[in-house]
Every structure is written in C-alpha cells, then in structure tokens.
C-alpha cells in the first residue's frame, strides 16, 4: 500500500546530486532498521523523488535559492493531482482533469493602478527578463493539509518595482483570468469570479514572495496556475492566486474572493496561524500529502515556519483580529 508501483516512476534522465543524497539517506534509514511503518513515508518519498519529470518544458538556467527548504518534496504526481483551482471544478482531482482547455500562450499581464509606469508584459518577457530561481517552499492549505513544492519563479518585488509604484500604492491587487470558455468552473457561480486576491505592499515586496512560472524545473502545469501564479509561503494557499492576468496598485485594501464570501472564515491576511482555528476545523496540525494513510499529522507552525523572516511585518498587530 505504501510502495509506489514501478509504473509510477518516470524513467528519469540524469539523477541530480541531491537525489543521490536523498537516496543514500533513504538507504541509510532503511539500513538503520526502521520498521515498515516508519519507513513507509520514506519509501513513498523515495519513489516520489525519482518521478521528477513530467515531460513538460524545462525552464533554462534556474538558479538555486537560499530560501529553499531541504524537506522531503511532495511527489510531482501529488503536486499536480491534488489541487484547489475552482475555475476547473471543486473536487481536488478536477483541475488535473479539466485544465487542458486553458490557453497559456499568448499571455499578457497588465500592471496598473497607483504607479508611474503602468503597462503590460508578456509571459515570454517575464520568463526571459527575470532570473528564474528554484524556491522549495512549504505550502499550507487552509484545509489543514500541506505539501513541499519546488517552485520556479522570481521575486514579485522585482517585477513591481519596474512599474514604479507611487506613494499611494499601499496594497497590491491580483486577478485571475475570467473566461468561462477556457475555465469551465466559471460557468457556475460557485465563487464571485474572477478570483481576486491582495497583499499589503510590504508583503508583496518581501523577498519570500514570488511569482511562480514553473515547478519541478518545468513550466507550470495548467492545473497549478499556469502560466503565472503567486506564491506566498507563510500564508494559506488560497492567497497564492493562479493564472494571473492583472496586478493593480491600490490605496485601499483590495477585495479577496474567499474573504468576501466568508469573512469570518477567511481573513484578508490569512497568515498560517495554529492559534486561530478556522470556525469549522482546528489549524493546530496538518496532514502532509504523500505520507500515506497511517502517517501522523504535523504540528503547524506560526507563519508556516517562516516566522523568522516575516513575523516583523506584523509586529504590534493583533493576529487574532487580523487573521
């Protein structure tokens, strides 16, 4: 039950050194005589690390980043088949099944609002004009599950500065594509389309905040928010808006889809916080996807473990009120 079948393991090309290392760790752990129950997650992980290619388009010259965690990565298979992307359906398996209709080329991002140089930029220019880095981040969903995803992307701040935000720019608003033809989930009004999210300016400029263009070294699969999505690793996943077509600098706190829908359940800030429960479930622990049926849950850390880097953004704020 815990062992991946050989068919799940892609016939990978060259094995990167870090995977050698992980394999060795795995062999050591196995040799150390860890029982089957304990080795289960490791076995799964071992298989998952091998399956690192999807047959997608590799992004060239990806640089490593000191912000990356060396925790066990969630398998590509799980990262691409367990998604909340209501534009393609409300089941976790829907995006993988339905996102084929999304056309990601050409793709234009509009940046406007309180800035001196509003304008547009195409996805190819985003890929070639910014140094792409690999950022292996923990992802904590508001639904109390988590993954570790090797994103490829660049700091959002690098992009925002190019458009010269003015002193009135206190927030940044984001919008997903609105096109029910390409996004069948938008044909029903499950959410108030288009999906919207927002960050405070200092959050948006924080070096941990990235715009992702890929994962596992390749261009983003459609179901993960291709061709361009936000990743804010210390906030619940729903803040990390997908398939972005518009970024706008604003003076007031922008609208955010889940927050508009259920303000008592989904705050604007949505920082990962084990001390503030979702009204319908506890946020103290989470399940790590890919660890199997009998794996224990993990303690959730404030700011998803990124407190050292980001807690100062919120000093003096009552995080129970501004959850």
């Amino acid at each position: 039950m815990l062992i991946k079948r050989p068919s799940d393991i892609a016939s990978s090309e060259i094995t990167p050194p870090e995977i050698y290392r992980r394999r060795r760790e795995f062999i050591k752990a196995a040799a150390a005589g860890i029982g089957l129950a304990g080795a289960g997650p490791l076995l799964l992980g071992g298989g998952s690390v091998l399956a690192e290619t999807s047959g997608g388009t590799a992004i060239p010259n990806v640089r490593p980043s000191p912000f990356s965690t060396d925790e066990q990565r969630t398998s590509l298979d799980d990262v691409t088949h367990y998604n909340n992307f209501y534009e393609f359906g409300t089941e976790k398996s829907d995006p993988a099944a339905n996102a084929g209709t999304l056309k990601t080329r050409p793709w234009t991002l509009v940046v406007d609002g309180a800035c001196e140089a509003p304008g547009e930029i195409g996805i190819e220019d985003l890929l070639s004009g910014f140094t792409q880095e690999e950022r292996v981040y923990r992802l904590r969903c508001v639904e109390a599950w988590a993954m570790v995803v090797p994103w490829v992307g660049f700091p959002l701040g690098d992009l925002l500065r190019r458009f010269k935000p003015t002193s009135k720019a206190r927030y940044v608003a984001f919008e997903t594509l609105l096109d029910p033809e390409q996004m069948p989930g938008q044909r029903r009004s499950v959410l108030d389309w288009p999906y919207r999210e927002g960050l405070r300016m200092d959050e948006a400029m924080h070096p941990l905040t990235i715009l992702a263009t890929g994962l596992y070294g390749e261009l983003l699969p459609n179901q993960n928010g291709a061709p361009l999505r936000l990743v804010v690793p210390w906030k619940y996943g729903f803040k990390s808006i997908k398939s972005i077509v518009r970024i706008r600098f604003t003076e007031r706190e922008p609208q955010a889809t889940w927050n508009m829908m259920q303000p008592d359940e989904y705050g604007f800030y949505a920082n990962v916080n084990p001390a503030v429960d979702h009204p319908r479930w506890s946020q103290k622990k989470h399940r790590v996807i890919g660890e199997g049926l009998f794996a224990r849950k993990h303690e959730t850390l404030p700011f998803n473990g990124y407190g050292d880097q980001v807690a100062s953004l919120y000093s003096g704020m009552d995080l129970r009120r501004y959850f």
Binding site: Y82, T90, R188, R280, F294
Partner: protein, 211 residues
C-alpha cells in the same frame, strides 16, 4: 398454497443486496491496501464512508414509498438490512474520523463536537441511530408494538441531520449536498398525509361557510 414468486426470490435478493451494500466498503479497503486512495487517503476514506452512509440512509427511506408505488411487500423486507448498512457506514465514518483524522486526540474531538455545528449535528445523528439499530430485530418490534413505529420515525430527523451535516461542511459548492437534500425532500413528502391534510383544509372551509 404456493408461495408467491416475490417470496421465493426474496432470500436471493437479500444475498445480492448484502453483497451490493458491502461492495463500497470492499472497494475502499481494496484501494487502501493497493495505495489507490489518491494523494489524501484519509480524506478519501472519510468522504467515501460519509457518502455511502447518507446514500444508504436515503435508500432505506425510499422503501416505504416504493411499497406504495409497486404494491409489493419486498421493499419492506429489505428495509432493515439497508438501515443497518447505513448505520454500518456511519460507524466506519466515525471510526475513520476518530482514529485516522483526529488520531484519537480526545480533547480536539470534544472541541469539534461542541464547537463545530456540522460535527455536532453528525454526532447527534449517530447517537440517534444507535437505538434504532439495537431495536431493529423482530423481537424488539414485537415487544415495542406501536411504539416501535413511533421510535423509528426518528429516522426522518436523522436523515435531515445527515443532510444538514453535509450542507454545513462544504466550503462553497453546495451542488452535491443540495442533490441529497432534494431527494430527501421528495422522500419525506411521501410521508405527509396529503389526503387527510386536504380533507382537514376542506373541513375548515366548510366549517367557515356553515350557518
């Protein structure tokens, strides 16, 4: 006198139904053992058992209308097994929740039952199902007589609680729970004594227009 065809078929029907009711459980176990429950196996088991608990509860409630529509007694003969299987899936659902989902952390479980209305409602439904399962035998039916029928009317409340539980737990997409709610509404509508109600209303009108 020769037994009717329906009565001859009944034992076989029961065996088939028993297997059919057990099949979803078998599939879940099979998927668990073969590792095909998907990326979040605990969630898959929790949802799978919850879905089948509610489905079987509604199928159980369909038996009385079915008898009326077909004029046959066999639906009533199958009703107990269906009801007990509904209880079986609720018990599995609760077990998955307590053991795999909550990891037997009793303080958080008590918290859930007290603080989270969708859990409270599900829990009450479970508690109410226990006496019904215990008194489902022929012996208890005889012993309780008319009170047995009254007691087992609790199943209407249980089904409503089950649907409310589902409605309250979804995040945004109410479509599926609303499908269950519609089916339940239709099944409950069969229980309303429309003719007596009509007669009553007519009676009132006659009363008013009297001398």
């Amino acid at each position: 006198m020769a037994r009717s065809r329906a009565e001859r078929v009944l034992p076989l029907a029961k065996v088939v139904l028993f297997a059919a009711c057990l099949a979803p459980c078998g599939l879940l176990v099979w998927d668990a053992v073969s590792g095909s429950l998907g990326p979040n196996p605990v969630e898959a088991l929790l949802h799978g058992t919850g879905d089948w608990a509610l489905r079987l509860l509604l199928v159980t409630l369909a038996m009385t209308p079915l008898r009326r529509l077909t004029g046959q007694v066999w639906p009533i003969r199958l009703r107990r097994m269906l009801g007990l299987f509904a209880f079986f899936y609720v018990a599995l659902h609760l077990t998955v929740y307590l053991w795999l989902d909550r990891e037997l952390a009793w303080s958080t479980i008590v918290d859930d039952v007290i603080k989270r209305p969708y859990i409270s409602v599900g829990f009450v439904a479970f508690l109410m199902l226990i006496p019904l399962a215990l008194t489902s035998t022929r012996g208890w039916m005889r012993r309780l007589g008319r009170r047995w029928t009254q007691l087992h009317r609790a199943v209407y409340v249980i089904a409503v609680l089950g649907v409310v539980h589902y409605l309250w737990l979804v995040k945004a997409d109410l479509r599926e729970p609303l499908i269950y709610a519609s089916v339940l509404t239709i099944l409950l509508a069969f229980r309303v004594p429309w003719d007596r109600l009509g007669a009553m209303l007519r009676g009132v009108r006659v009363g008013r227009s009297g001398p």
